[in-house]
């Protein structure tokens, strides 16, 4: 069965400091991993997906199959990064179902 674990419910960093939001997954096949973000008073939206290998708003995430991790990183946090972040996994069965972690609330302290 698939599982996504985000060990930190809350994470606070100072502006300009590096930030890393942890995500570990469990899946027997070849998953696709995503990061979704929800800013205050906005809807949940896609931040990035591992197959795109791109940087969005300065964030990157590398899929580490050996460690079954997909941590989200940014070298210099900004106040506007404060939001709820969800790691999600899409397996190879079903109609594109996403399985979410419990989320990490990031607060960037000015």
């Amino acid at each position: 069965a698939q599982r996504v674990t985000q060990p930190e419910k809350l994470l606070s960093v100072f502006k300009g400091a590096p930030v890393e939001l942890k995500c570990n997954y469990s899946y027997s096949g070849s998953p696709e991993l995503f990061w979704y973000v929800q800013y205050s008073r906005q809807r949940l939206q896609l931040l990035l997906r591992h197959i795109s290998r791109e940087s969005i708003k300065g964030f990157t995430a590398d899929l580490n199959k050996g460690e079954t991790s997909f941590h989200l990183k940014k070298p210099f946090a900004q106040e506007e990064d404060s939001a709820m972040y969800y790691c999600a996994l899409s397996g190879t069965t079903g109609a594109n179902n996403l399985f979410f972690g419990t989320g990490t609330r990031l607060t960037v302290i000015p």
Binding site: V4, Q6, E32, R43, L44, Q45, L46, R49, Y86, A88, S90, T92, G94, A95, N96, N97, L98, F99, F100, G101, T102, G103
Partner: protein
């Protein structure tokens, strides 16, 4: 462009009353549709998904049901609400097929009292 709307945004219902949350998608055809729930302190849980009209798959046993009477309409229902049904419900859509980006609606807060 594609848009997704769900309503009502907030709802307070007594235990045992019925529920109907509605979701519509515009600007696309034959989308995959989803209902997710976020209970307090828990992650987003997939409740139902649909790949076409009248085709509903349930991920977890529960007190809720879903229907897709039209291509771009997805309804979440219950005949008798339980206290445990309280939570934040999200409708979502993606293009047909697998592993396409999922787009979420604004969400509906349900409080069962």
């Amino acid at each position: 462009s594609q848009t997704i709307h769900q309503w009502p945004a907030t709802l307070v219902q007594p235990v045992g009353s019925p529920l109907s949350l509605e979701c519509t998608v515009e600007g696309t055809s034959n989308p995959n549709l989803y209902w997710y729930r976020q209970a307090a302190g828990r992650g987003l849980q997939l409740l139902f998904y649909s790949v076409g009209i009248g085709q509903i798959s349930s991920e977890v046993p529960q007190n809720l049901s879903a229907s897709r009477p039209q291509d771009r309409q997805f309804i979440l229902s219950s005949k008798k609400l339980l206290l445990s049904d309280s939570g934040f419900y999200l409708c979502a859509w993606s293009a047909g097929g697998e592993r396409n980006t999922i787009y979420f609606g604004e969400g509906s807060w349900l409080t069962v009292v």
